[in-house]
């Protein structure tokens, strides 16, 4: 009898802890083409010639929704996406088996509490160049490149978007409807962003400020589920 019980608990245990890996892949698109870095293929948008050197950002606090209710949250959910580093574009979410969900949510950037927690490791390690050193805080989203429209030396633009305190909190949420599939590909199309940046007046945003918040607010609309 005891043996049966033991076997039953072991089986139950395995069943309960059974996990499904859900692969997530981030894809970057510009002008209907895949964005490949560091190959600086020139992008012609209207009359401007643009090239992208860096596209790097944090996605964090992944969770799944079913009928507007959170059904699953990733623990320690911080992922640094670097368009230049293909390994960073893919990771797995570990879900319980048979989980029902209809939407995925994540934040672009790092939350307030984590920003004040002190020295962090892994993806949050300041060696990744996504931490401001003269003023504590993570850079949530980094876009660097050149545009013939910029009046700066070498036509460079640099957008380091961050800030975790009001009124300059730049953390943004993205929620996307998903169907249950074996993998989810999330696409970021930066074309509308490149079109709406006021390059001539603001080729650089490098600290928490109103312009950073405006920039950040454009981001959620650029993400979609790739078909």
């Amino acid at each position: 009898m005891k043996v049966y019980l033991l076997i039953a608990t072991i089986v139950l245990h395995f069943y309960a802890s059974a996990q499904n890996s859900l692969p997530i892949t981030f894809k970057h698109v510009v002008n209907k083409q895949d964005l490949m870095l560091p190959d600086t293929n020139k992008i012609i948008l209207h009359q401007d010639t643009i090239s992208i050197q860096t596209l790097k950002y944090y996605v964090s606090n992944f969770c799944l929704y079913q009928k507007n209710k959170v059904v699953w949250q990733e623990k320690n959910s911080y992922h640094l996406i670097d368009a230049e580093d293909t390994a960073s574009l893919k990771f797995n979410l570990q879900l319980p088996k048979n989980l029902q969900y209809d939407a995925i949510q994540f934040a672009i950037g790092i939350d307030n509490a984590t920003n004040t927690k002190g020295a962090m490791a892994g993806h949050l390690d300041p060696i990744h160049g996504m931490y401001w050193t003269w003023q504590s805080g993570y850079i949530n989203f980094k876009l660097e490149g050149t545009n013939t429209k910029c009046t700066t030396p070498k036509n460079e633009f640099q957008y380091h978007i961050g800030g975790y305190q009001n009124p300059y909190n730049t953390l943004q949420l993205v929620q996307l409807p998903v169907s249950i599939k074996s993998a989810i590909d999330i696409q970021l199309d930066i074309t509308p962003l490149l079109q709406s940046i006021p390059y001539s007046t603001q080729a650089r945003v490098m600290q928490p400020c109103g312009a950073a918040v405006q920039f950040a607010q454009l981001l959620p609309g650029l993400f979609s589920i790739a078909k």
């Binding site: 920003n115 004040t116 927690k117 002190g118 020295a119 962090m120 490791a121 390690d125 300041p126 060696i127 160049g129 931490y131 050193t133 003269w134 003023q135 504590s136 805080g137 305190q165 300059y168 928490p208 400020c209 109103g210």
Partner: protein, 343 residues
Amino acid sequence: MKKIIYILFIFFVGLVSFQSISPLMQQPKGWPKPQYNFAENKLNQAKINIGRALFYDAILSKDSTISCASCHLSYTAFTHVDHALSHGIGDSIGKRNSPALMNLAWQTSFMWDGAVNNIEVQALAPLHDIKEMGENITHVVEKLNRSPLYQQLFYQAYKDSIINSQRMLKCMAQFMLTLVSANSKYDKVMKQQETFTAQEKNGYIIFKNNCTTCHTEPLFTNTKFANNGLPIDTVLKDFGRMKITNNAADSLLFKVPTLRNIEYSFPYMHDGRFKKLSQVINHYTNGIQASATLSSALKKPIALSANDKVDLIAFLLTLSDKEFVFNPKHQYPKEILIPTKEK
């Protein structure tokens, strides 16, 4: 029965209030609880040693000429004496006066404008400043990983061979957190082990009447930001806290510095504009510049006689803690750093 419960209650309250932060750091009697979360970075002698070695090691600067101690000397309560503005690599001159370092576990923000939000990430600022150490954290971590000395020190502390920025920064924080100054004459008088002279006593009364809104006992700072009426330096154009918050209400606000060990930490103010305490006192009596953000505590003029000023300074000198300033545990760790030079 009620009596027994009462006694037990008092006993447990007593236990809690006399609890030390760690065997390695005592909570001074009568002080508030530290702001730093020691549970997430438990003090450990091997880690404090690493922090101390790093604090004194020029390996943190690009050309190995500058260490943290170049601008923060233990003998002067960890400030850069005699330099109004701190000097970094290639003799470049910084924008501000280096503050004295002590009782950092009781602070929630660092730098004159509060730019740094946690003592653990403090070191990143000077490390990356091209005028201070001109390095970057990635390269410093590489250098530490190549160093036999640090390989050994980190192994002793963590029992594995990982050296990363988090460990390095937490160790540096540990050393700085242990810099506690709580044994000045003032403290001894408060503990009724010594007594003030008549002059010091009068100075203490003047101090309590005019200064404690901001320089609040026992830390001698309320850890907030204030505009204490200094006219702006038209060359440096430093608006303090406003740079961080972009809020006009924070224009010309600077962090209220502690006055402990003030005898040693001249020159004074964020730009080191005053060399002597008498100049500071004259600022508070005659130099307050009115402005939209001037603290209300200083709107009413402070009138002090010549004798009062002398007495006030006599009181401020009772905040000197010789044991802190000359503590060998705070000084250059010969026993740790010298052996490498022989290898």
